[in-house]
């Protein structure tokens, strides 16, 4: 009987040599230099057995034992002890339920409750602007647990999360929709399904609303938000969280809520990262 010789061992050896050559020698770097990053990783791994990693505050870069934010920043930007205006989400003095604007009736209509995580100013404002305009959406995931805890403790559980839409043109320029990023964080953190595809759509590219009053904003936004046809059935009678990054007068939220309520959504709760702060007079 003829028996073919088994060359597999030799072949494996040759293959290994080629691998070495291709990955270490042809690249022009010495083997030691190539292994350097692996060595660094191993050292970092070994460190984790002996030390707990030091946490730094995301806003002021001081070391903080409390979590994402140090106590100073918590007090300065998030005011955990202050209530939020039921109508527009603004941070307000303790005894009140609504902010002065909403008491007069200037606030957004159609929303069941709105809450804001923090006050739009200082380092927190810079953080949000970095995320939006400096292409740093990866920063958001650092606040996911903080945001999740806050949202669950302040809002009733919903069926779906719906982010405020961004116009196609601006989305193409920026590469991401920050409201959708926040919503996907909450989906991950709290296990609430993110409604996909987004039923709300921007039909027109409105200019930035910075520096406009409430009436002008309402006028500006009229008819710019539409509803994706064919999604109405699923959303009928549902409770949703409407998610955005910043609110000032609540005009955008109001328009989105109006579109949602029109097709029969039962309750719309707004959740934003930042809003204004009303100081006690």
């Amino acid at each position: 009987m003829l028996q073919t010789k088994d060359y597999s061992g030799i072949r494996a050896g040759i293959n290994a040599y080629y691998f070495l050559e291709v990955y270490f020698l042809r690249g022009g770097m010495s083997v030691v230099a190539k292994l350097e990053p692996i060595w660094q990783e191993l050292k970092a791994l070994a460190r984790t057995f002996f030390y707990t990693p030091e946490k730094n505050c995301l806003l002021c870069e001081k070391s903080s034992a409390e979590g994402e934010f140090c106590l100073d920043c918590l007090e300065e930007y998030f005011y955990p002890e202050l209530p939020r205006c039921v109508n527009c989400g603004k941070l307000i003095p303790k005894e009140q339920i609504k902010c002065t604007d909403c008491q007069v009736g200037k606030g957004p209509r159609g929303l069941d409750k709105v809450i804001a995580l923090g006050y739009y100013g200082g380092a927190w404002r810079e953080f949000i602007q970095n995320v939006k305009y400096k292409a740093q959406p990866y920063q958001l995931k650092k606040i996911s647990s903080f945001l999740g805890n806050f949202a669950i403790s302040h809002l009733p559980p919903p069926h779906y999360l719906i982010p405020v839409p961004l116009h196609q043109e601006r989305l193409a320029e920026r590469g991401f929709n920050q409201a959708e990023e926040i919503a996907s964080l909450l989906q991950w953190e709290c296990g609430i399904p993110l409604y996909s595809p987004n039923p709300l759509q921007r039909l027109e590219n409105t200019p930035s609303q910075v520096g406009l009053g409430r009436e002008e904003r309402l006028q500006n936004l009229k008819g710019t938000i539409g509803f994706l046809p064919g999604e109405a059935e699923k959303l009928k009678g549902a409770k949703v969280w409407l998610i955005d990054d910043i609110t000032t007068t609540g005009a955008t939220l109001e328009h989105c809520a109006y579109e949602l309520k029109k097709i029969g959504v039962k309750k719309v709760f707004g959740l934003v990262l930042a809003a204004g702060l009303e100081k006690r007079k």
Binding site: G28, Y133, K134, A135, Q136, P137, Y138, L171, A172, E173, G175, F176
Partner: protein, 625 residues
């Protein structure tokens, strides 16, 4: 900034900016626009598939000849590639012909003012070429450039695209991905933050964010200089073979000539170098050596390509020189003759320093010695960005905005904070330098790495031990000083009482620089000292202080008797009759090099060559010794 794929008559695919104008001829354009790196990827995919046949044939040793593709197959192939792409499949893609495009674009076109006369057109183009020469520009930079030269953003894009078509400029995606991972195209950083965009994977470079954010969705415009292009063509390598259009019209030749004329006009009017000082013999010798180093040329001939890698040159030729001189030896002045020679030979010169204060210290000195020089000062806060100039003084970070722009670079204080240990900036220097360019490093306290480089023969070394007035550097004294100098810890008054006699003593000799280790100590100390010494004028500053420049200029005039600061004034600045006190010298941020530099602030001028430097600390550290 977005780009479109464009298919021309000869079945070639180009990448053009969406907002630019539609070229002449029979084109078809793929809509909507996409970021540059995705357009590049699409092109690459098609190139791979069609130039080397199908995957099976790829294994063959004898590769097939490049197949000519038909228009329809290219279109179909691109569309099917897009369909299979996980994140690009959700867009609605379509090829639009020129006719349908023109209707939509006509409205936009009306807004753009078109210069009618030929002369005006030439003027604009020459101006644009001069401003962008040797630069790497982001979208924000291009917009600012538009503001400075009174052009709309769309016009600037048009000009850029013209350059790209001629092969004198190129588009780059902000970050590029290869087998090893992402790499920032501006600073060379490889540790970047990755995230998911609507186009799939994307990344942002965190390390050069101070120059404006840059992500892989952004695009950079980079101008290529003529010399570079010539060598490329000789070698038969085309940098951007997809978008090179070699037919250059006669108008362009005219413009190019005009541009060269303007550029050489620098050389025609000879730069006057009139030093207001005289060099000592030692300085003269050093200056001559630097001059001869700058003059030396690389020996001609082929470099063995097998061992040639990057910037390696022939044996015996050195591209770098290290000037090791004591503090206050007049390093800067030693460089001036060499700079003057280079300027008169129509070379571009850069003087880079690690800190703003050093830059603002050097710029007036240069202006004094080179009266008819167009000097460009680039720092993070300087308003002028794109004025063309032959001599540039810049902080090290601003260098990242240049590409193959300089023949000669002086790098001051190469061992100081932002430059030392920062791979990105070293990469930036290498990029800003022309292939034939040279670097002169200046330092008082060289790092061990650079000394090793000298040992290996990769760099020349020049030493200049004595100060220009011949007096030695004052030896700093260590005084035992108990008590915590932290102003927020209660016993600050006790500390001040210990400090006062010393201030009185030194104050007779001249203004005192009081160095503290932390920014947060500056203002409390200023307040405390003002309380205890009301008759003296006291001020303080730190790196993020908005009024920093004014304060330091006032200090230079001598209007403060006591100045509290962090290590910002540690290097490169000269104050007459200055005395130094270092508070908390045992703090960990003061290493040996910075302590030597701080002591070096004393007695720098000829009128007052002596002075005192005091290190106050409860115990000595190895650095103080």
């Amino acid at each position: 900034m977005h780009f479109n794929l464009l298919l021309d008559q000869s079945d070639k695919v180009h990448i053009i900016p969406s907002q630019g104008e539609i070229p002449e001829g029979d084109w078809e354009v793929l809509y909507p626009g996409i970021p540059f790196y995705i357009a590049q990827e699409l092109l690459r995919e098609i190139d791979n598939e069609y130039s080397w046949g199908s995957k099976r044939k790829k294994r063959n040793l004898f590769r097939r000849k490049k197949e000519a593709m038909e228009k329809s197959t290219i279109k179909r192939k691109i569309l099917s590639n897009l369909k299979n792409h996980p994140s690009l499949s959700k867009f609605t893609w379509q090829w639009m012909s020129k006719k349908s495009l023109k209707e939509t674009k006509e409205e936009e076109a009306e807004k753009v003012k078109i210069p009618t006369s030929m002369e005006e057109k030439e003027k604009i183009k020459v101006d644009f070429l001069r401003r962008t020469e040797g630069r790497v520009l982001t979208k924000g930079d291009l917009q600012r450039l538009g503001q400075e030269s009174n052009l709309s953003y769309i016009e600037i894009l048009k000009l850029c695209q013209e350059q790209v078509n001629e092969g004198k400029g190129e588009w780059l995606s902000g970050l590029e991905r290869n087998r090893m991972g992402w790499r920032c195209q501006r600073c060379g950083e490889t540790k970047v933050e990755e995230w998911i965009s609507i186009y799939g994977r994307a990344a942002t470079c965190p390390s050069c964010a101070s120059l404006g954010s840059l992500s892989s969705l952004n695009t950079l415009y980079r101008s290529l200089n003529n010399q570079n292009k010539a060598t490329n063509e000789n070698n038969g390598v085309s940098r951007n073979n997809t978008s090179r259009n070699n037919t250059i019209s006669r108008d362009d030749v005219v413009i190019r000539n005009k541009f060269n004329e303007v550029n050489t006009s620098f050389a025609k009017s000879k730069i006057i170098f009139s030093p207001r000082w005289e060099l000592t013999p030692a300085q003269k010798k050093a200056a001559e050596e630097i001059l001869s180093f700058v003059k030396s040329e690389e020996p001609q001939g082929q470099v063995n390509s097998l061992f040639e890698k990057g910037f390696q040159h022939k044996k015996g030729f050195q591209k770098e020189i290290l000037l090791w001189a004591a503090c206050g030896a007049g390093k800067t002045e030693v460089c001036f003759p060499a700079a003057a020679w280079a300027l008169n030979n129509n070379q571009k010169v850069l003087f880079a320093a690690p800190r703003q204060d050093v830059v603002w210290d050097i710029a007036p000195r240069l202006e004094g010695d080179f009266p008819n020089l167009s000097l460009g000062v680039h720092t993070g806060t300087s308003p002028q960005r794109f004025t063309p100039s032959q001599f540039v003084v810049a902080t090290t970070h601003q260098i990242l905005r240049f590409y193959q722009a300089f023949d000669l670079i002086f790098l001051d204080e190469m061992d100081a904070f932002p430059y030392y240990g920062n791979k990105a900036l070293a990469w930036g220097i290498e990029k800003a330098l022309k292939d034939t360019g040279k670097i002169v490093y200046l330092t008082a306290t060289p790092s061990p790495e650079s000394l090793q480089k000298v040992k290996r023969g990769k760099m020349q070394l020049l030493t200049l031990p004595a100060r220009h007035h011949g007096h030695p550097i004052p030896v700093p004294q260590w005084k035992k000083f108990t008590g915590n100098p932290d102003p927020r810890q209660g016993n600050a008054e006790k500390v001040i009482k210990n400090l006062l006699p010393r201030i009185e003593e030194l104050g007779k000799a001249g203004p005192i620089l009081l160095f503290v280790p932390q920014i947060s100590w500056v203002n409390p100390w200023v307040q405390l000292l003002q309380e205890f010494l009301p008759q003296r004028s006291i001020e303080g500053s730190f790196s993020s202080d908005p009024n920093r420049r004014e304060k330091i200029e006032n200090l230079r005039k001598g209007s403060f008797q006591l100045f509290v600061c962090t290590s910002i004034l540690e290097r490169g600045v000269t104050f007459p009759r200055a005395q130094v006190i270092v508070l908390g010298a045992d703090h960990e941020i003061f290493d040996e090099r910075s302590l030597v530099q701080m002591a070096g602030r004393v007695g720098r001028s000829r009128e007052c060559p002596t002075g005192t430097a005091l290190f106050l600390a409860p115990k000595t550290t190895p650095a103080i010794k």
